[in-house]
């Protein structure tokens, strides 16, 4: 079903399949142990940890990197140009080719992928970081809303998400039991993931704790964390060489597409995620079976919504890492989704996977990555 006025989704090949030399792969991934409380580590230290780790895994030096791009949000620290300070961790002298997006680092990965496809460099470093515990994340996210009609109301991200959850319940697309099952499984997976925050919720309390914004309880809502993640991308033979040296294989990016919906929650059908649906079609998610997916669901109801929008059938394992409910290192969370899928493919645990990143209220802007072994 297409919304009136919306062009129907069309399948666009992400790029010519025969240009193998232009193929880009994730060849290394690192993330911090995300913390739900401020450990006192400054941003540059978080970044230093993950950048040093990916370079060590990949067996290359800082000077070998063709392009560096990061994603972060100055409002998390309340200071301008936080990303410049974090460059200390990369080593920016002599001058390097560097860029930044004021977005989740999954969009930095998008920029790096475009840059690599120019064909003149063969590696790119992507990282994202944030210390979401320093301020009040819902208040910070209110400032990204429409400044005329939404922000002055003081409405926050959690309340907006709750409007979406209610719409899904009313449409009988999900039940409260479905949400509880997502939460239960996410925390069970998160507890087995050493990088995920110890969120402190046990499944027993998830169904009984007070609603934050009905129908969402604390367990339905991602816990903001301090953390960072880094991914090394490489092309063609360089990717194969770096992977081989680690005893893994490249996780090739076979589709990478983003779509954005209207900002206002009233301008959309909240029971669907049209932008994710169109991005998934464009990225070719349905072209072959998928074994694993990581989705940027910051609220429990968004996982089944995204499973449907991305066209993932019941057999696909979704958020085996515990997902954002287990740890939400804001501005790295989307990149972590890519890394979690890539490392499973690199290790041979899956052949084909989907990583999804989102930003904006009620999943406004969606980026879909298809990775293959």
């Amino acid at each position: 079903m297409s919304t009136p006025g919306t062009p129907p989704p069309t399948a666009v090949p992400p790029f010519p399949r025969d240009r193998r030399e232009g193929d880009v792969a994730v060849v290394a991934f690192s993330q911090t142990r995300h913390m739900a409380a401020d450990s006192g580590a400054p941003e540059a230290r978080l970044v230093h940890t993950v950048v040093s780790d990916v370079l060590q895994r990949a067996g290359i030096d800082r000077g070998d990197i063709g392009f560096t791009v990061s994603g972060s949000l100055d409002y998390l620290a309340g200071t301008p140009f936080t990303f410049v300070g974090a460059l200390d961790a990369v080593g920016a002298w002599p001058p390097i080719s560097e860029s930044h997006v004021e977005m989740d680092a999954a969009w930095a990965l998008y920029e790096a992928w475009l840059r690599l496809r120019h064909g003149d460099i063969d590696t790119a470093l992507v990282y994202g970081f944030g210390k979401a515990t320093q301020g009040d994340l819902p208040d910070i996210l209110t400032l990204q809303l429409d400044p005329y009609y939404l922000a002055p109301l003081g409405i926050d991200d959690i309340s907006l998400a709750a409007l979406q959850a209610r719409a899904l319940l009313d449409a009988e697309r999900v039940t409260e039991a479905d949400l509880a099952a997502v939460v239960d499984r996410s925390y069970a997976a998160a507890r087995a993931n050493p990088y995920s925050a110890q969120a402190g919720f046990t499944p027993d309390t998830l169904l009984t704790s007070e609603y934050v914004a009905h129908p969402l309880r604390p367990g339905d809502i991602a816990r903001p964390c301090d953390g960072a993640a880094a991914v090394l991308l490489a092309t063609g033979d360089t990717a194969r060489r770096i992977a081989e040296a680690q005893g893994t294989r490249p996780a090739w990016i076979r589709g990478l597409e983003q779509r954005v919906d209207a900002h206002g929650p009233g301008a959309r059908d909240l029971t669907r995620c049209d932008a994710a649906e169109r991005a998934a079609v464009a990225a070719g998610v349905g072209a072959a079976p998928v074994q694993v997916a990581e989705v940027h669901a910051r609220y429990s109801h968004q996982e089944p919504l995204l499973r449907g929008a991305l066209g993932l059938d019941d057999g696909v394992e979704v958020n085996p890492s515990g997902g954002p409910l287990g740890a939400d290192p804001v501005m790295a969370t989307g990149l972590v989704r890519v890394g979690e899928v890539a490392r499973r493919i690199a290790a041979g645990a899956a052949e084909r996977g989907v990583a999804h990143a989102a930003q904006g209220p009620c999943l406004q802007h969606n980026l879909v990555t298809v990775l293959e072994g």
Binding site: D156, L160, Q164
Partner: protein
């Protein structure tokens, strides 16, 4: 950084407050479409703009979010009433929220509009932490406009449900005079005694009556009955009653030992789910100082045998 929030023990790094603010607020241009909406709102009207597709966008934007086409110049007054299309109940408002007590956020489709508006919804000062039962998708609501309006979305203070009910105070006062039999019955209860009447047919009625209800003949004698009996039927009540301590509560018919008719009574000190017909019960009397001639002195009947409610 405020000095009082600094900490500085040797094993702890310094920390302090930090505020980012635009003193006086950040100035933004409205453009012709949002400006028209806010100007109309200041005058107490809510308008949408018609898109090329014919749809009325509320709140209006300069383009149709579905296809990016510029909207027409036609502004359409909508509402003021509308329908809730989705909602969330906020039990503990955040500091930036418009209420300090529980309230709802909702998407509200104003009459005549094709897109819903996000706003706050006030369900009244008695709102508790649980969503009020009347809060449902489909609820009809109307805006409460501020008296002093400045041209801001918050000129609508909130929405409120349409009036679909009133609460009418209802009370009548009477003076009841008990007949001789009821007077004797209540007097006897002050002493912890239950009086009945034996009819000329041998039937024992309780409470005490003046005459046999089957034929109007006077009773032959007063009978004192024990305060024990059997529950012959019962009902679990979920509607609050001033005579019962809480809901749900149980009312039942008690056949006192030796009586031929049942006494209507409250059943207490037992889980409603454990009450059953045939259960032995005994009266639990009010303490003597709480007894009164004007009402029964039996608080309720309780399971008579130890462990009766555990079976």
């Amino acid at each position: 950084m405020s000095p009082d929030r600094q900490t500085g023990s040797p094993d702890e790094t310094l920390s302090g407050g930090h505020t980012v603010e635009f003193p006086g607020g950040y100035t933004r241009s409205t453009g012709p479409v949002i400006g028209r909406f806010l100007t109309e709102l200041r005058d107490g009207r809510i308008v949408g703009v018609r898109a090329r597709s014919g749809r009325v966008l509320v709140p209006p934007t300069e383009y149709d979010p579905h296809d990016g086409s510029p909207v027409t110049g036609e502004f359409v007054e909508v509402g003021p009433a509308g329908t809730v299309t989705t909602w969330t109940w906020v039990a503990q408002p955040r500091p930036a929220h418009p209420f300090t007590r529980p309230f709802a956020w909702a998407l509200i489709l104003l009459d005549g509009a094709d897109t819903p508006l996000v706003h706050a919804l006030d369900l009244g000062p008695d709102s508790g932490p649980a969503p009020p039962r009347r809060l449902r998708t489909g609820l009809r609501v109307r805006p409460r406009l501020r008296d002093e309006r400045v041209g801001d979305i918050t000129d609508i203070a909130c929405f409120r449900p349409e009036v679909d009910r009133i609460t009418a105070p209802t009370r009548l006062d009477y003076t009841i005079r008990a007949g001789p039999a009821l007077t004797r019955y209540l007097d006897a209860q002050l002493e912890g005694r239950i009086l009945g009447m034996r009819s000329r047919h041998g039937t024992v009625y309780v409470p005490l009556r003046d005459v046999d209800p089957t034929d109007g003949s006077p009773g032959t004698e007063e009978v004192e009955l024990p305060d024990t009996g059997v529950l012959t039927m019962f009902s679990v009540n979920h509607v609050p009653d001033p005579r019962a301590p809480e809901v749900p509560f149980v009312t039942g018919y008690v056949r006192l030992d030796g009586a031929d008719v049942d006494l209507l009574a409250l059943i207490g000190r037992v889980e409603p789910s454990r009450v059953r017909t045939g259960m032995r019960v005994r009266a639990e009397w009010l303490p003597p100082e709480e007894r009164s001639r004007t009402r029964p002195s039996i608080r309720w009947f309780v399971p008579a045998e130890k462990g009766e409610d555990d079976r």
